[in-house]
């Protein structure tokens, strides 16, 4: 049996709201959540990457898989990028040392998904993530979410797709079975849809864990740093 996961809850400075969000997620039946810190890299120069709040300050006592890697990302368990151009998407799928590739759902897709990078990502165990909260917020966004998710699912045949919320409001969270039903609208089979909220999340965690164990040293640090600067609007 695999547990349900939602690997994209947006981080807010309001600590109480974050706690209600976590409680709602737990109430809906999620056993694992990831809190997402969004960081937009500038096209020139460097911006400091935000430091995550230690989990011990958010909730008391929580077992967690720790990831030790490059200097900036050392504190994070998972690393995701949201590519905005086709070149970046290709690079993210084929070379970047990331765990999740986030798909744009709030605007028209800036490029087409090509078979080669999508297959490359599947072979490397990198997951694609679709967030559904925008679809609840607004009907235009809903159209974009459906279109973009459908074209992604068509390319990767429903495999390697994660469905997560991407919200900071408890009322925009939905239960795991609701989401797997929703994923059927994207063209995924019911088995793939259930994997999208459960076992694919587990694979991502294991992938992140393996990467951090296998490349615990300077080579990985160097590689990750180049990845960060090469993605002008990554993560």
């Amino acid at each position: 049996m695999s547990l349900f996961m939602d690997l994209n809850l947006s981080w807010t400075t309001d600590k109480r709201r974050l706690q209600t969000l976590l409680e709602t997620a737990a109430h809906l039946g999620f056993s694992t959540v990831a809190i997402n810190y969004t960081y937009e890299a500038p096209s020139k120069g460097k911006k400091e990457i935000p430091k995550p709040t230690p989990v011990s300050q958010l909730v008391e006592q929580l077992p967690i898989v720790q990831r030790h890697n490059a200097a900036e990302y050392k504190a994070y368990d998972l690393l995701a990028v949201q590519p905005t151009t086709e070149k970046l998407f290709h690079a993210a799928c084929m070379t970047f040392d990331v765990d999740i590739i986030c798909i744009t759902v709030t605007e028209r897709l800036p490029f087409f998904f090509k078979r080669a990078p999508v297959n490359g990502a599947r072979e490397r165990g990198v997951m694609f993530e679709v967030c559904y909260a925008a679809a609840i917020r607004d009907s235009t966004m809903r159209r974009y979410t459906l279109t973009n998710a459908t074209s992604l699912v068509e390319r990767c045949a429903g495999k390697n797709v994660l469905i997560s919320s991407g919200t900071d409001k408890p009322l925009e969270l939905r239960g795991p079975y609701d989401i797997s039903n929703l994923a059927q609208l994207f063209g995924m089979s019911d088995v793939d849809a259930k994997d999208g909220v459960s076992s694919n999340g587990r694979s991502v965690l294991l992938h992140a864990d393996t990467v951090s164990m296998a490349t615990d040293g300077p080579p990985a640090a160097k590689k990750l740093k180049t990845a960060a600067t090469a993605a002008p609007s990554g993560l």
């Binding site: 609840i136 809903r142 925009e172 939905r174 239960g175």
Partner: protein, 122 residues
């Protein structure tokens, strides 16, 4: 003591109806809502997601408890995915945020009754 005897029943034909037990969570807890308003809300959600033709399948609101905002819906099995997804994507009720929590889905109405967790002892 005699061991309990179990009988296994296998139903091979697909069920005609599916029953859903849902509850509506609203941003302002004190908001009151009637059964008609709830049905209208669901129908509006269906229409905004699937359009006139896609929303034209029958479903019924069997019961509605106004104090807990819990309802039981009956829908033909064919329409389940459509109804459920439109409930999932419903986010607003009269300019306030709302969310449908699907508590239970079953082809048998009997299994939605008699939840031992809902029992109130006198």
């Amino acid at each position: 003591m005699q061991p309990a005897i179990f009988e296994r029943v296998v139903v091979k034909n697909s069920p005609v109806y599916q029953y859903m037990k849902v509850s509506l969570v609203l941003e302002h807890v004190q908001t009151k809502l009637t059964a008609v308003e709830l049905k209208h809300l669901i129908t509006t959600g269906l229409k905004s997601l699937y359009g006139e033709v896609g929303a034209a399948f029958p479903f019924d609101l069997l019961t509605f408890e106004e104090d807990t905002l819990t309802a039981v819906l009956r829908v033909y099995s064919r329409g389940l995915v459509r109804l459920w997804s439109s409930l999932t994507l419903l986010g607003f009720f009269q300019q306030q945020r709302c969310a449908f929590r699907v508590l239970q889905v079953s082809p048998y109405l009997l299994s939605l009754t008699g939840n031992s967790r809902d029992l109130t002892l006198d």
